[in-house]
Amino acid sequence: MIKVVFPDHLMPNTEGVRETEVDCDSYRSLVRELEKRWPGIEDVLAKTAVAINGQIYQDAWLETIEPSSEVFFMHRIEGG
Amino acid sequence: MSKLHVTTSVNGQPEEVLCEPHQSLLDVLRDELGLTGTKEGCSTGDCGACSVTLDGRLVCSCLVLAAEAEGKEVGTIEGVANPDGLHVLQQKFLEHAALQCGICTPGFIVAAKVLLERDPNPDETTIRYWLAGNLCRCTGYDKIIRAVQDAATELAHEA
């Protein structure tokens, strides 16, 4: 099981859920599972950055996720 | 409005241009003579990017009317390097990484050259005040000041 945490601004898309657990082994399977729970969230996540065990990805599409990882969705950072 | 006929010398070359009475020396250098090394940052005399010399005196070319260059010697960044290569200041700006974006660089080099001609051994404060009319937003001035100091030292050795 991996722990998934949503920031405040995504909670309207998760019926107010901040933290959940998902059984998955890749970012793609994680997103599929979340989309099953909360239809429409995939599009929102496509515009969101994510940190997997501390490593920040603007786009994590190809990443695998080890068991007992922590996944944090977060605002995408831009820059000057 | 009829155009004015201006005879001047730019970097030692005689030039004749037709210009509008309102046109600045900066506009004429850039638009009529194609000398775009002199930059425009403000056109109000506040940034120094347009620094050139007029009869050896440092001026903001955006504040000088082209007609005022009649019969005078104009010096621009394009005239700073000599036939054997870069001027010491140019070399030192490169070695000290005294430019980041480089838009301010021509103005600084022209201004610093006039300084070193007048005062071959300026201290840090003198350099800072002399260059206070040239804005640089990238470097924080540190490396520019060091480049000028180093150029002064090298010129003193050469002399």
């Binding site: 490593q55 950072i77 831009e78 820059g79 | 930059k39 937003r137 001035y141």
Partner: protein, 740 residues
């Protein structure tokens, strides 16, 4: 990752490849292009900060001799996003200086005069000019359609979004604290202040093929944005990035390019548009003015038990203030169990804010780092010791969620404590102020092609406009990877049709991400060279090593041959398969956060209110400095911008929303005589995701100076001034009211 002691060229300070062009005036910046038949465009700007446009009539301008085209909103697709509405106003003008129409004429002066012949009928509305006004009950609405967080069940509001971050229980944390300090701070709207104004030239041919030359941080973005605003396809547009005279985040969005293209289309001439300095101030993106509250509680030993922050940011006329990153950075240097952060994105009738170096972080961190400084004072602790006690480290859960990988904050703090400028006593009559800085840094997409000439010299093609010496960094990384001398390599910023897609130069990503692409493209070259050598020697490619710029047989391989250099391989490439070119593209992840510690010693003249900055020191973790002089330059430049913002720079508005100081005379950026030398120390805690350990370095430098300066003024005066800039009149007023 290569260890520092193995590196031969990385970490040296060679002359940049584009240097000679830039010290001789040869380099072409945005306004330096001349095309035959070129004419000049100018923009008509709104004289009101807030008004409804009833009609725009450009016919008067078009009737003038020498005027070749004029455009207004009706020339652009009606369906458009915020950026499109910023480039040309639709129903309403939303700030003083908002573009309403544009003309192109044979001379710049004529174009200027033609603007007077355009008739615009306005219904003037009341402007909203501050956060206080915008969030007050019954405030005038900047955008009647705007609902907070898109929640249409609530009434329309000037608050575009509210963001929250929370962990633990802040109230409980404060209850456990021995000391609680708090403060309220205002930071003014400030401009990036790049010395080169926005400039572009556009032309369009009979097939509708558009070419744009412009000064930009991202020519691929110019292509995307221009196509969207014009309602055309990106395949019709080629963008050539000129040299760029500074950006700092301000040259990421288009302002002129779509107008220039449209004017070119209508006039059938190349059209050049160059802003003047006043337009740059009034109508391009400054950064947010902010109103922030911060509070921290700690135990007697300095352990912070709780922190809260309320951060409100002016977005200008369209939503999108950098308050998200403000919330995420405000507590980033600290390891905390209990905190809550709230951020507001607030619309006002001022220009749409743009990114400015670590967008959003300096303002929020100013508030928190001032309060942390007050906490150190209350506790009687050294400000660096207090920070060390609470500093985030590898494994700390960042306030914005994830756990930090290896970071260099503690290394910077320890370096600061040991630095001679810190161990030296504060000079007589001066105050000293310390602050931490932080920026996330980003990766994103980059491409690089490495071309080999017949003589074995190397050309790098990439798509990141070089604002501060990045070509030199690319050449250094390529030289290191290929094992050849730096001076055999040149780097070229190619146009949108000559290199693979590349995101902008911004977010401190260029040396990290484009650098990664360059390193990988060089590795591609090496792999091919090994194959060519193997072919030449009749052995297998896996029996070949690349050593010091040459193909050699692996130890133990029985081949009596001379090593083959790039030049040797190039000489005979005709018989081994033809020319060699390498390529790589990345969507780089794991940019690696950058931390810093800054301090300054300064004196305040109590008679005049003038601050004299005596010394400034910046220490920053660069991961690994590829060209240390340009890393130092970033640190020094960021410090200077931060000092300017802290001490002098601000947008001053009158009651009608007109900026009163739209020029460098009155918007005073630091000049050489305002500043001391800026001492730097680069700390290197390598970023494991980059082949040479690079972290971005461009933005972190501006995140600490505001608070360091505030804290030094606090130390010098004995009381805190909570509103920036601490300009002479403001300090004098503060001193008088303290003494009076």
């Amino acid at each position: 990752m290569a260890e520092a002691h193995d590196l031969k060229v990385i970490g040296t300070r060679p002359v940049r490849p584009d240097g000679v062009e830039k010290v001789t005036g040869r380099a072409n910046f945005g306004a330096d292009l001349y095309l035959p038949g070129m004419i000049h465009g100018k923009v008509l700007r709104s004289p009101y900060a807030h008004a409804r446009i009833k009609s725009v009539d450009v016919s008067g301008a078009l009737a003038m001799e020498g005027v070749l085209a004029a455009v207004s909103r009706s020339d652009f697709p009606e369906e458009t996003d915020d950026l499109g509405q910023n480039v040309i106003a639709r129903d309403k003008v939303l700030y003083h200086g908002h573009a309403v129409a544009a003309v192109a004429a044979s001379t710049p002066l004529l174009a200027e005069q033609a603007l007077d012949a355009i008739k615009v009928d306005y219904d003037v509305l009341e402007p909203v000019l501050s956060i206080d006004q915008a969030i007050a009950d019954g405030a005038t609405l900047v955008n009647e359609q705007m609902h907070t967080n898109g929640d249409a069940s609530q009434p329309a509001s000037n608050i575009a979004a509210i963001t929250k971050f929370e962990r633990g229980d802040a109230e409980k944390g404060f209850a456990e604290a021995d000391v609680v300090v708090e403060g309220e701070f205002r930071v003014p709207m400030a401009h990036q202040g790049y010395i080169e104004p926005h400039a572009c030239t556009a032309t369009i041919n009979e097939e509708g093929k558009i070419t744009v030359w412009c000064s930009t941080q991202g020519h691929f973005d110019v292509r995307t944005q221009t196509a969207a605003i014009l309602g055309t396809s990106i395949s019709k547009i080629k963008v050539i990035a000129s040299e760029i005279g500074g950006g700092f985040g301000g040259k990421l969005s288009v302002y002129l390019e779509p107008l220039a293209v449209k004017l070119s289309e209508l006039s059938n001439r190349p059209v050049r548009m160059v802003m003047n300095r006043e337009e740059v101030f009034r109508a391009t993106g400054p950064t947010s003015a902010t109103w922030c509250k911060a509070k921290v509680g700690a135990k007697k030993d300095g352990t912070i038990t709780a922190a809260t922050a309320w951060l409100s940011y002016e977005a200008g006329a369209f939503p999108g203030a950098p308050v998200g990153p403000g919330c995420m950075s405000v507590l980033a240097p600290y390891d905390l169990e209990n905190f809550s952060i709230e951020g507001l994105d607030v619309l006002v009738n001022k220009p749409k804010v743009a990114a400015y170096r670590a967008p959003g972080a300096p303002q929020a961190m100013h508030a928190m780092e001032c309060v942390i400084d007050d906490l150190a004072r209350e506790l009687g602790m050294d400000p660096i010791d207090l920070r060390l006690k609470n500093a985030a480290d590898e494994g700390t859960q960042a306030p914005y969620g994830p756990k930090f990988p290896a970071i260099g904050l503690k290394a910077c703090l320890e370096a600061a404590k040991a630095h001679p400028n810190y161990t030296a006593p504060v000079p007589e009559g001066c105050g000293r102020g310390v602050a931490c800085g932080f920026w996330f840094n980003i990766g994103m997409q980059s491409s690089a092609e490495v071309l080999i000439r017949e003589d074995g010299t190397v050309i790098i093609n990439e798509g990141s406009p070089d604002i501060g010496g990045s070509r030199a960094s690319m050449c250094l990384m390529a030289a290191e990877t290929l094992g050849i001398p730096y001076d055999r390599i040149n780097a070229h910023v190619a146009d949108t049709e000559s290199t693979g897609y590349c995101n902008m130069t911004g977010g401190s990503r260029t040396t990290f991400a484009t650098g990664m692409a360059v390193v990988q493209a060089c590795e591609d070259i090496i792999a091919q060279c090994k194959e060519r050598a193997a072919m030449t020697w009749d052995i297998d490619a896996d029996q070949v090593d690349w050593d010091d710029g040459q193909a050699v047989p692996k130890p133990g391989v029985n081949a009596d041959v001379d090593p083959l250099s790039l030049a040797d391989i190039a000489k005979t490439w005709g018989r081994t398969g033809g020319p060699i070119l390498g390529r790589a593209s990345v969507n780089a992840q794991g940019a690696g956060a950058g931390f810093s510690v800054n301090w300054t010693d300064l004196a305040v003249d109590r008679e005049t209110g003038k601050v004299d900055v005596k010394a400034y020191t910046a220490i920053q973790d660069a991961g690994r400095a590829i060209h240390p002089a340009y890393v130092e330059g970033q640190m020094q430049g960021g410090a200077a911008q931060g000092l300017g913002w802290a001490l002098n720079e601000e947008y001053i508005y009158d009651d009608n929303g007109v900026m009163e100081n739209a020029g460098f005379l009155d918007y005073r950026v630091p000049v050489a005589s305002d500043l001391p030398m800026i001492d730097t120390q680069i700390v290197e805690v390598p970023n494991p995701t980059h082949p040479y350990g690079v972290r971005g370095v461009g933005e972190t430098p501006i995140t600490a100076p505001l608070a360091a300066t505030s804290n030094a003024v606090r130390d010098a005066l004995g009381f805190r001034v909570s509103e920036l800039p601490m300009s002479p009149p403001r300090l004098l007023e503060a001193i008088d009211s303290q003494e009076g």
